[in-house]
Symmetry: C2
């Protein structure tokens, strides 16, 4: 049993209580008490005590859209058009990965996420060549919580964007489906329940309706979740309209892929009918503000979705599209971006954004009864923000301080499943120096194999 | 003489050379050599050597729009409408400052700027009650470079936004003008030229055309610069049209306030004629992407201004509007925001944004021959970004790594005027702990005097 004491606890519980001079008692992987420090300590006077020094404690952040394999190609395609970004850089580089690259990129990505306060994430598309088992082992050892989605596909391109696809990104439909089911058999619920396995079908343009229906059926039979990119750019909507005569959400519904076990990625170009359909079916959406702005996809109608009752969470997306996996930094984008879109500074207040990054993320992962808030009986997944810094001083509202001023580099401590994973900013479960060196080395080799050189626009001497 | 060796130097010189394994030799306040480390070290083998360990070196960042007095009221008005933001929080709090508050807020702000790599800044509006001399003394001792603008005003409200103004924010026009001229007499060129004094007239709605003409005349006679908020929100444009029958830039030109000694702040709501007028007159613009998004002012036509030949730089603005003074973090906004506005991911590449934050800022400050690039004969103002971190790994393009992935917390070393001001992230010239404690204490007293309490939307226990 450990008592974490003297913190300002942003609980995210149903009443959204904020407890100053609070304490959390943890036994095993669970929170067994939470409240004013004096009361909690009186109940557990003899247990190990960790002093939080007045810092802010909040539920671990849930990043609901991650491409692990893209951490190692961070910055490979800055300031390019989407077609070039995809077909000349991202696919070509990822198509040259082997399983060691897949594992190293996952290590780099998880290292960054842990250091910046992400305690759970949804990886959306693990290709066969990245090596599912190796990645799952990294998740297990690192101590993070994850839903790992295996790619399935049966159209060898991403037809809404381009007819080209790098051969290394192609998977045989039967092989990709079998690998997804095998991964689920092997890893679902592993590591004390920290690992889930989901389906990660390619977006429309990469799968036929038949394949989507098979995914939906397997998912229903096994209680699996599905995450899928939808309506990221205008061309996606036009493609679905042209091919199937439906709106993006109509099409998804027609193949059985709307519902409480489905997490849509991006959902930028939706109309009011689409939004109503998501609300009615209980479908989740992950908003990815950095990716959508950098790739100039558009600004998703997040306030409208929230108003309609859609559960919207937040994702960092990938190294070439963000370019970081720092949820804390992305909170500010998820607030300000919608203010300027609507020319209304009162929408998307800090409190709403923090809900998206915690409890809404937990709902999207089907874990709302386990994580996403600090409550007795839930998993002990929480982070501590070190507050004694110029850019966080003063802090009249701890919620808006986190959203408007903090970065992941302010995260001092991370606890997942009751275990201290990050302490004083150091990840205890991973070898940072080794991973950074290996990521640099492997990235260089991948670029060489792919025949790609990335340089600044300026002369390098 | 000191030789800083083994860095990747992003010089921002006229050829925009990037020098790998480079070195900079510094004598007194100047760069005396720059080039490949082997060559520079061969010329100065016996001098003190500082190992940059392969990190990235770039010219110190120039923040061209800062409200020093607002650091201490960071987070006072999050998620409010602009009128409430201004008239119920910012003015009321600032109107309750005394000179000790003004000095402490300046210390907090400069501490944050130095730690995050800002080596020069333009403060736009020092009110009489903040104590100009005390603030100038902080600048002098801290080692930073600054243009300090003294408020002048003769309309006691900010009429384009509201008829209300907190009494404490009002200044007698003759007193405010006299204080500006006295400050210029006393401080212009002080601290080895690190301090400039500018005029900071209130925006249209706060000054009569007559006062603006007096400012323009004094500025011309003394070689002073002027910085002024213009066309931040649509209401500003409507006001000027209604009162004077002109566009914002026509009006500014009519009172003598366009030209190479004028730095306009925001310039969000400009049309093509306005932009052409700024280009023709050589007027500078500071773009403030965080402030404009958070306050929902709009997205300034920065690509259009740059294409027309207007010199555009970047500013963080203030604690209630950003909420941080971290130029590195704001670079990403100055890139991605314009991509999504234009739905074009190729505009505002990282290279352009870094120009805005360095050499364009130097131009805006009238210091293009002194700072803004790493060249022999220029002042030694530069910063070192520590690269061995997960979120900066790998780094195929050092320019886009800085813009798309770094934060001010990655700044390891800051050199200004040839002196090491920040080392291993610690500001050598300022007492961080004392300043943070004092800022908290003074902020609390200011809130109490103003009768303002800021709380989260959620219950605090």
């Amino acid at each position: 049993m450990t008592v974490f004491k003297n913190g300002t606890l942003i609980t995210m519980d149903p009443q959204r209580r904020i407890i100053t001079e609070g304490a959390i008692a943890v036994q095993g992987d669970r929170i067994v008490a939470i409240g004013k420090a004096t009361e909690v300590r009186a109940r557990f006077p003899d247990d190990q005590q960790v002093d939080l020094k007045g810092n802010i404690v909040l539920p671990g952040l849930v990043d609901t859209h991650v491409h692990l394999a893209q951490a190692m190609i961070r910055g490979c395609a800055d300031d390019l058009s989407l077609i070039d970004w995809l077909s000349k850089r991202v696919w070509v580089l990822q198509g040259n990965y082997d399983e060691d690259d897949g594992r190293t990129s996952a290590e780099l990505c998880i290292l960054e996420m842990l250091k910046s306060g992400t305690t759970a994430f949804v990886e959306s598309m693990i290709a066969g060549r990245y090596g599912f088992d190796g990645i799952a082992e990294v998740v297990k050892r690192s101590g993070i919580r994850a839903a790992l989605s295996k790619v399935v596909m049966d159209i060898p391109t991403y037809a809404t964007q381009t007819d080209i696809m790098y051969p290394g990104m192609k998977e045989d439909p039967e092989v990709s489906m079998r690998q997804a089911l095998e991964a689920h058999d092997k890893w679902q619920g592993a590591a004390n329940g920290r690992i889930q396995v989901w389906f990660g079908p390619r977006p429309p343009g990469g799968c036929t309706p038949e394949l989507y229906r098979r995914v939906a059926q397997h998912a229903a039979e096994r209680g699996m979740s599905v995450t899928i990119h939808l309506a990221e750019v205008q061309a996606d909507v036009e493609y679905i309209r042209r091919e199937y005569g439906m709106s993006p959400t109509e099409y998804m519904e027609s193949v059985g892929l709307l519902g409480p076990n489905v997490l849509l990625i991006h959902a930028v170009w939706l109309d009011a009918d689409d939004i109503a359909r998501l609300a009615r079916t209980g479908t989740h959406v992950t908003h990815n503000p950095l990716s959508n702005t950098k790739l100039a996809s558009g600004i998703a109608p997040v306030p409208e979705m929230l108003a309609a009752g859609v559960n919207v969470s937040i994702g960092c997306d990938g190294g070439p599209s963000n370019n970081t996996y720092d949820m804390v930094r992305d909170l500010r984008w998820a607030s300000y971006l919608h203010k300027v879109r609507a020319l209304d500074p009162t929408i998307m207040p800090a409190e709403t954004v923090l809900e998206m990054a915690t409890i809404n993320g937990a709902k999207a992962m089907g874990l709302a009864d386990q994580i996403g808030s600090l409550e007795v009986g839930k998993k002990a997944d929480f982070i501590v923000i070190a507050m004694n810094k110029p850019h966080l001083t003063p802090s009249p509202n701890p919620v808006s301080t986190i959203v408007c001023a903090a970065t992941g580099q302010d995260v001092d401590t991370v606890v997942i499943d009751g275990k201290i994973i990050v302490q004083s900013g150091r990840v205890l479960t991973m070898e940072e120096e080794r991973i950074l060196a290996e990521a640099r080395e492997r990235a260089e080799k991948v670029y060489r194999r792919a025949g790609i050189e990335v340089r600044p626009q300026w002369p390098v001497m």
